[in-house]
């Protein structure tokens, strides 16, 4: 495979790693976008899901929002945001699109996790005189944690994918190496960029898997979502 050899030599060329638009810079952007947007999405989605799950309201919305998120093409949202007035403000279209697609899995998993807490446990906690807040934070939240963390993992992988796609709409991140490769008609660079993105995504997924194995057994959730 000649292309693979070319891709490998592209990856091992020091000049491609440093400087403006180099791999290190793109990797930093990708990591920054993923982490910041994951934090923003958690801050938006988790409190809403916890309260809705605790109250048992808005279930149809919380569950269906995932299906809606799947039906709307990420690429279309990126381009639509780019053409709105927001598009003139640097990375904002990317950040908004990333958050929009990370919120649904967080919301759905956290809500389902809160609702799947054994009703007998909830009744026992009430019988012990716990207030709603104590019940939510002290009983339901810890028991729902495995599913909440599954949601965070799915959201993180989704964020990596969306941040890659943002390159098509002029955003930063590792995807830019791929789009630049297409513009240069350099298959080697396209493949090299794709390998970088794939490895990055797998490392993110692997970190969450490792974290899941490190937590105590009772907190472990299902392997897939």
């Amino acid at each position: 495979m000649n292309t693979l050899a070319d891709a490998w030599s592209w990856l091992t060329t020091a000049a491609n790693w440093s400087g403006d638009g180099g791999i290190w810079q793109r990797l930093g952007q990708h990591l920054f976008l993923t982490v910041v947007c994951l934090l923003i999405s958690c801050l938006i989605a988790l409190p809403v899901a916890l309260v809705l799950g605790h109250l048992g309201r808005g279930g149809a919305l919380a569950v269906n929002v995932s299906n809606i998120g799947r039906a709307v093409p990420t690429f279309a949202v990126l381009v639509l945001l780019l053409l709105t007035p927001i598009g003139g403000h640097g990375e904002w279209p990317t950040v908004i699109a990333l958050v929009l697609f990370a919120v649904p899995p967080l919301l759905t998993n956290a809500y389902v996790g809160m609702r799947e807490v054994d009703r007998d446990v909830v009744r026992a906690a009430r019988g012990m005189g716990m207030t709603g807040r104590q019940l939510m934070l002290g009983v339901e939240l810890p028991l729902a944690l495995p599913l909440i963390l599954t949601g965070v993992r799915i959201a993180a992988v989704q964020l990596v994918a969306t941040a890659t796609l943002a390159a098509l709409a002029g955003g930063g991140g590792l995807g830019r190496i791929i789009t630049a490769g297409f513009n240069l008609a350099s298959t080697a660079q396209v493949v090299a960029g794709a390998v970088l993105v794939a490895v990055f995504a797998l490392i993110v997924e692997g970190l969450f898997e490792a974290a899941r194995l490190l937590v105590p057994g009772r907190l472990r959730g299902g392997g897939s979502g």
Binding site: R70, V72, P73, V77, L80, L82, L165, L168, G193, A194
Partner: protein
């Protein structure tokens, strides 16, 4: 010299009836391409997924590798997946189909396997006691009982494929994604919005059609609920 026409196209408005009427054929071609890419990919995915799921169900050693490989495939972001296939398929529709097949494969294998595993052991033993051979057990008992879970996977795979076809625009075979991509480069708001809305409409319509098919195929599930 005539003055330039003052219609919604000239003003570059988001909603534009003149766009719909003047570009009807372009839109129609894009929709047809979008449907073809989606249908071919999901069908190939289905043909490959059934034997894989059956192998994972009946050969204990096969389950781990099959699930691991499909999980890894699903973690790779779409842009990277298409790019990795570039050396194999070049700038062709086959590249988009191959990428989409790999994604639908993951969703279908997981769901078919979950459906097969959920068939109660008592049911299987009852069928064996009635003299069912392995093939008849599979076709008349296990597969029908696994159908609701399999159809759920098929719906998710189809909706995801409709959305992911748009990314094929990077190689010029993205159905409606091509219109979104060219609309982005020319700042053509009506084209981007119309193509995006059509994507969502196709996804929702496909989902409803499959839901209807599921209802018709599994009449016994309706009586229970």
């Amino acid at each position: 010299m005539t003055a330039p026409p003052d219609d919604c196209l000239a003003r570059n408005e988001w909603l534009c009836g003149a766009y719909l009427s003047s570009r009807r054929e372009i839109l129609w071609d894009a929709v047809v391409q979008h449907l073809q890419l989606t249908a071919v990919s999901v069908l190939i995915g289905l043909v490959l997924a059934v034997p894989l799921a059956l192998a994972a169900r009946h050969r204990r050693w096969a389950a781990g590798p099959v699930l691991a490989v499909t999980t890894i495939l699903y973690t790779v972001p779409s842009l990277a997946m298409f790019s990795l296939l570039l050396p194999v398929y070049g700038l062709s529709a086959s590249l988009v189909v191959a990428g989409l097949v790999l994604y639908s494969l993951t969703l279908l294998v997981r769901n078919i396997l979950a459906g097969l595993r959920a068939v109660p052991e008592e049911t299987r033993q009852a069928a064996r006691g009635m003299g069912y051979g392995p093939l008849r057990l599979l076709l008349a008992v296990e597969l029908p009982l696994a159908l609701p879970a399999a159809m759920a996977g098929l719906r998710i795979a189809t909706v995801s494929a409709v959305s992911l076809v748009t990314v094929g625009a990077i190689v010029g075979h993205g159905g409606l994604g091509n219109l979104i991509y060219s609309g982005m480069n020319t700042y053509f708001k009506a084209q981007v919005l119309t193509a995006s809305v059509l994507c969502v409409v196709i996804a929702v319509a496909a989902d409803l059609l499959l839901l209807l098919a599921q209802r018709l195929l599994t009449p016994w599930t309706r009586r229970q609920s």
